[in-house]
């Protein structure tokens, strides 16, 4: 279990390696409308994990036989820039990115009013520019902002964060070494700051009780992110009104 490159401990004197408390986020940066050609766009960083997202559509779906006459179809593409990881990652789709695209699409499907756009397609593109764990969470948060920025009608905003177990303790927002050498990594997304969970992925061994503690922490973290997302969208809207 003592993998090459593993630090001796992930929590030293009650602090994590980057100085955080157990229930702290890394510095969060978020923006909307950061791209000019996209209909809607968003940016979301957890520390040095940087994600951007763009939304195009609703627009006509070709070929025609793929259209759904009663509602819009959602397509979601999560990719990582080749330079976003320590070892250069080959461009194109990996099995990991295919899986993440699927769970992110399902999470966002819960909130979009697809019935308003029969036969159409809505495309969401998520690009991880720099990766230091929790990339799917940053990407999903950026995508939610981009959908709102594009004016796609939604029930509410989806928000996502990671929790995990490191040195036996439940902690919020996994960073690189914690993801690689910690015990458990969990990604959770909820709708509008409630406890409605639309994305949940878990890797690593923990007890039922520890999991219940972790999911509560994650739901709480998502609610905080939901507030930030709404704030940045309101500010942008006000900025445009002036």
């Amino acid at each position: 279990m003592s993998k090459i490159g593993a630090p001796e401990k992930l929590i030293v004197n009650g602090k994590r390696l980057d100085g955080r408390e157990l229930k702290d986020f890394r510095p969060i940066v978020l923006e909307s409308g950061n791209l000019k050609r996209a209909l809607g766009s968003g940016l979301f960083n957890f520390g040095s994990t940087h994600a951007i997202a763009a939304v195009y559509g609703p627009r006509n779906l070709h070929p025609k036989w793929m259209q759904d006459p009663s509602r819009a179809v959602l397509r979601c593409t999560y990719t990582m820039a080749p330079f976003s990881t320590t070892e250069r990652s080959r461009p194109g789709h990996s099995r990991r990115s295919t899986e993440i695209s699927k769970v992110v699409k399902e999470a966002l499907s819960q909130v979009i009013f697809f019935e308003e756009f029969p036969k159409a397609v809505i495309d969401i593109f998520i690009e991880i520019v720099q990766a230091n764990a929790s990339t799917r969470c940053a990407g999903l948060n950026a995508a939610a902002i981009a959908l709102a920025d594009a004016g796609i009608p939604m029930r509410d905003l989806v928000s996502c964060c990671s929790v995990g177990k490191i040195d036996g303790k439940i902690a919020l927002d996994m960073a690189g070494l914690e993801d690689n050498f910690g015990d458990v990594d969990i990604a959770v997304a909820t709708v509008g700051g409630t406890d409605k969970v639309v994305l949940l992925q878990l890797d690593g061994i923990l007890s039922k009780e520890e999991f219940f503690e972790a999911i509560d922490l994650a739901v709480d973290g998502c609610a905080k992110i939901n507030d930030m997302q709404k704030k940045v969208l309101v500010e942008k809207y006000r900025g445009e009104e002036k």
């Binding site: 409605k196 878990l202 061994i205 039922k208």
Partner: protein
Amino acid sequence: MINKNESYVRKLIEDGTREDGRGLTDFREISVKTGVIETAEGSAEVKIGNTMVLVGVKMEVKEPYPDSPNEGGFVVDAEFVPLASPDFENGPPGEEAVELARVVDRGIRESHAVDMEKLCIKEKEAAWTVHIDIHVLDHDGNLIDAASIGAMAALLDTKMPKWDADNKKIIRELKGKLPVSDKPVEITVIKIGNKLLVDPTAEEESALDARLTVATLENGELCAMQKGGDGYFTVPEIQQAVELAIDKGKELRKLL
């Protein structure tokens, strides 16, 4: 998609019943047979109702990765061969096969049931890779649970070949069992309306709101989860699903 009967299926389940008369937390008949493929080092055939999955394990030798010079490898592949369903006409659904493989992979990998260091033959030079191939032959729902138990059964059935280092060849005179230290089992809980149930048929799957797969160990701990579907689970529903998966996992583990 087979969703003509979607509303009928939903109505039945909201009333607490199912088309085939099962209770919401009952599995269909399950059988797990091992040693079914002579050409594989380990194999299993799993039937759950009309669903049939074949799993084969092949042992290969590769140079270890530079960042884990004394460890072997572990790969899960899943194929939805077009024999299995009329829905696979235009090519089987890629993202579902990828998800199936990755969810089964994580359920086993994260359990540490297969010790990667024991698979090393010579540091930096040669190590065994355990290649698990999941072959879906008949698809009537609940593929994750079928594939997960099939993969564990095939691993427990796996005999170790020998490595002829001089000639860089595998000699398939089997000399012992693959060391496996735990028996993780994945159970998928389905939500339709406000009901939770297990072991859906393909028809029931087409009507689901959300699903949650939970991998549990012999000691009752959790080691992997995956939520799917466009719907949501509330936190109390998740807690209820986890309890159900722990119970059903114990039941299915007896088949290994």
